[in-house]
Symmetry: C2
Subunit: 137 residues, 2 copies
């Protein structure tokens, strides 16, 4: 068991997976710094991401590995992998083409809460591709 | 139960808390776009954050609400609240002073995996304050 000191101040990468064997991962555009999505990785997904340089996540809904873009072609090429103080969260700096979100937007974060409301969202982005054309069943 | 269509394309804020009643939250510097930290909120923390304009999280370790900066003074003033496509993750755009991480760095993400290694980290930032002076027990 790694000590708090070793985890926080050390130079050994000791990712702390949760009880389900997962760690949350923030994908951030390396050029614009926009947060594109948040996903999860298990050990195998993280190893694949490091080895291949393409972001691979673990789908909690489908309980399997998914290489981002395997269907849409919108892969994330990893430029840098950051880890936080307690090593239980990762930031991936990635370069992307367009349309990282399956709904059709560049980022999954295409809505913001309206000022003064706790219930009402507003769109802050426009779709950059048509998901119906990309995700053909 | 909200439909997928309503959650993804609608304008109603319907945050999807997990089985533990939590939702992950990425705090991003509104000016520099640096990712500062990732924390969790329960319903009460989210309501407090919206109402007060200062980020309040739920500490999983201590199982209680904590207003970021309540001890250190390093509060996060919320400029914008973004939600992702499936509304199970939030990005807070915040303005901060300095030293958002309890270890002494501006961001919790002060280390990166070395290129070509799956084990070796390197520091990518310098401390901006001395935590021993700020966190007096």
């Amino acid at each position: 068991m790694a000590t708090k000191q070793k985890i926080e101040e050390g130079l050994e990468f000791i990712p702390q997976f949760d009880d389900n064997g997962l760690i949350p991962v923030v994908a951030q555009d390396a050029e614009t710094s926009q947060v594109l999505m948040v996903g999860y990785m298990n050990r195998a997904a993280l190893d694949l991401t490091i080895r291949t340089g393409c972001a691979t996540y673990f789908s909690r809904a489908r309980q399997k590995l998914w290489k981002k873009g395997e269907e849409s072609g919108h892969v994330q090429k990893v430029q840098q992998i950051l880890v936080d103080c307690d090593q239980d969260c990762i930031v991936l700096k990635v370069t992307v083409d367009a349309g990282q979100c399956h709904v059709g937007y560049q980022s999954c974060f295409y809505r913001a809460l309206k000022k003064g409301s706790n219930k009402q969202l507003q769109f802050i982005a426009e779709k950059v591709y048509n998901p119906k054309e990309v995700y053909k069943k």
